[in-house]
């Protein structure tokens, strides 16, 4: 994909930066990103239609409900811009249904690719290093911010250039990247369990003069047994009906207090 060959109009350049800096500034429960989307596409509306009745009709349409992953939205803005620049107001309904059609699938891929995976990998490494007193991994977040910007820009170009046909081919490629990234994510999580969860058995058998600590027995079976059990228990809890992360948090706090005072583990 050669982005250099495409010339963006000055308005379209503004559209991108407006989304990048303020796409979710006016996020609300009713139209979600609708306000941000309208704010972003406004330079194009102003340029193509001015303050005419046409412009007002397009504006109403662009101010409707919109919600997708905000890193993926530039694809839709690009497609929208390309169609409007060539078709004008007659494309209004087509643009509206394209936006609606694309926002769902792009949200799913984008949330995994730009939220879950970086959260897992960078978040794990940053937390782990921070717990050891090292702030260095925080740079990874900043680096990711720049990487994301670059990707968003190329998405915008791609959307503008390829228009509608792009979504299918892109979907396949992103799916592969996603599944490879999942491999990395799972490995990191596996390593995280014994590294960051602090739980060791404190109970000791006393038989005459012999003391046997449960922890040293557990270590011989499997190091990290207590953290693994805690994760399994939490995983199981989350799968129960009527459970959400807030309730599980409260249960874990209770378990911690009980476990310490009953001398199970600490």
């Amino acid at each position: 994909m050669n982005n250099e060959q495409i010339k963006l109009s000055p308005e379209m350049k503004k559209v991108f930066w407006r989304w990048y800096f303020f796409g979710q500034a006016g996020w609300n429960y009713e139209k979600m990103q609708g306000l941000g989307y309208y704010y972003s596409i406004y330079p194009l509306i102003d340029n193509l239609y001015g303050a005419s009745d046409e412009g007002a009709r397009v504006a109403v349409s662009e101010l409707q409900f919109f919600n997708t992953n905000n890193s993926m939205a530039p694809i839709i803005l690009g497609v929208d811009g390309a169609i409007q620049e060539s078709q004008g107001e007659s494309s209004k309904d087509a643009v509206a249904s394209l936006k609606t059609g694309m926002m769902g699938p792009l949200a799913g891929i984008g949330d995994t690719l730009f939220a879950v995976i970086p959260n897992t990998i960078i978040g794990s490494i940053a937390s782990y290093m921070a717990l050891k007193g090292n702030p260095f991994a925080l740079i990874l977040w900043i680096a990711f911010g720049f990487l994301r910007l670059a990707v968003m820009r190329s998405f915008f170009f791609m959307g503008y250039k390829e228009g509608v046909k792009l979504i299918n081919s892109l979907g396949d490629r992103l799916k592969k990247i996603t599944s490879a990234a999942n491999v990395l994510g799972m490995t990191v999580i596996g390593a995280l369990i014994p590294s960051v969860i602090t739980a060791g058995f404190v109970y000791q058998f006393k038989n005459g003069g012999v003391k046997i600590s449960i922890q040293s027995l557990a270590d011989q079976i499997m190091p990290g047994l207590a953290p693994a059990l805690v994760v399994l228990f939490t995983y199981w809890l989350l799968g129960r009906k009527h459970m959400n992360s807030t309730r599980v948090t409260l249960i874990l706090i209770l378990v911690g207090i009980l476990a310490y005072n009953l001398k199970v583990f600490a």
Partner: protein, 262 residues
């Protein structure tokens, strides 16, 4: 320790900026680790900030505010948790455990801010219907005000009035509770991990989870080392998945095909 006015100011400004950054530019300011680090830097105790932030960050590994759901705001939790840990001198674990209820309470304010923006959306719709297309765009920028204030006000108030209040609470807490909370702080990261496991395709990737656990638990490999092995395996998986590799491996890939389309 007494907190200075400029420290309160900087922490308040940070909370407003962080929530803007989290929603838009995404340079990590909203991540608890970053917030804890910043608070530690401002208050002169980076280690405490890092530990409070790192602990809280583990809680939200798998939590994302997708489709507008509100999540516990551990950015604010990390700022205040670090501040109270340093001010009370009770240590990082105390700060981290204190930050959890703060983060949970903040969900309500996040909901309130997003709700306030509904009025701004209505205002924009009215302006557009009156043909004030440009003025309607300013409404989007107005949305920053409720969102940022939803973090800045509680941080400001908590820091101005909270230090004595928090000190009072700390002094009245019994030992069994303090130590119990410490143990709770140790196991709470399991939540972030468990949520991730619920979200990711665990069954398909169980092998990699085991490899990671084995590396860290038995071989004592640090997480970054395990991440390198993970990256290597991810690259292998990616190349194996590509169409060229399927042609090259011929018959063998036929059986593997059902793995790919999920």
């Amino acid at each position: 320790m007494h907190i200075e006015w400029w420290q309160i100011l900087l922490l308040t400004l940070y909370s407003g900026f962080a929530i803007y950054d989290g929603n838009n530019t995404t340079f990590g300011a909203v991540k608890p680790t970053m917030a804890g680090f910043f608070a530690g830097l401002i208050l002169g105790d980076v280690q405490t900030g890092l530990i409070v932030g790192g602990t809280l960050n583990l809680l939200v590994l798998g939590v994302g505010n997708f489709g507008g759901s509100s999540m516990p705001d551990y950015m604010t939790g990390a700022l205040l948790g670090t501040a109270f840990a340093v001010m009370s001198g009770k240590g990082a674990e105390f700060g981290a455990t204190l930050a959890v209820p703060i983060g949970l309470l903040m969900i309500q304010l996040d909901v309130l801010a997003r709700f306030c923006n509904t009025f701004i959306q209505h205002r924009a719709e009215t302006l557009v219907s009156e043909q004030h297309l440009k003025r309607a765009t300013y409404m989007n920028l107005m949305g920053i005000i409720p969102t940022s204030l939803s973090r800045m006000l509680p941080v400001f108030l908590a820091l101005v009035f909270g230090s004595q209040f928090v000190q009072g609470v700390v002094d009245s807490l019994p030992m069994w509770l303090m130590n119990g909370l410490k143990t709770a702080g140790g196991i709470l990261p399991a939540l972030g991990i468990a949520i991730l496991l619920r979200y990711l395709p665990v069954q398909k990737n169980m092998a990699f989870l085991l490899v990671g656990f084995f590396l860290a638990a038995f071989l004592k490999v640090p997480v970054i080392g395990a991440a390198m092995i993970g990256l290597a395996m991810a690259l292998v998986a990616f190349n194996f998945d590509s169409p060229r590799a399927q042609v090259a491996t011929g018959e063998n890939s036929v059986n593997g095909d059902d793995m790919e389309d999920e």
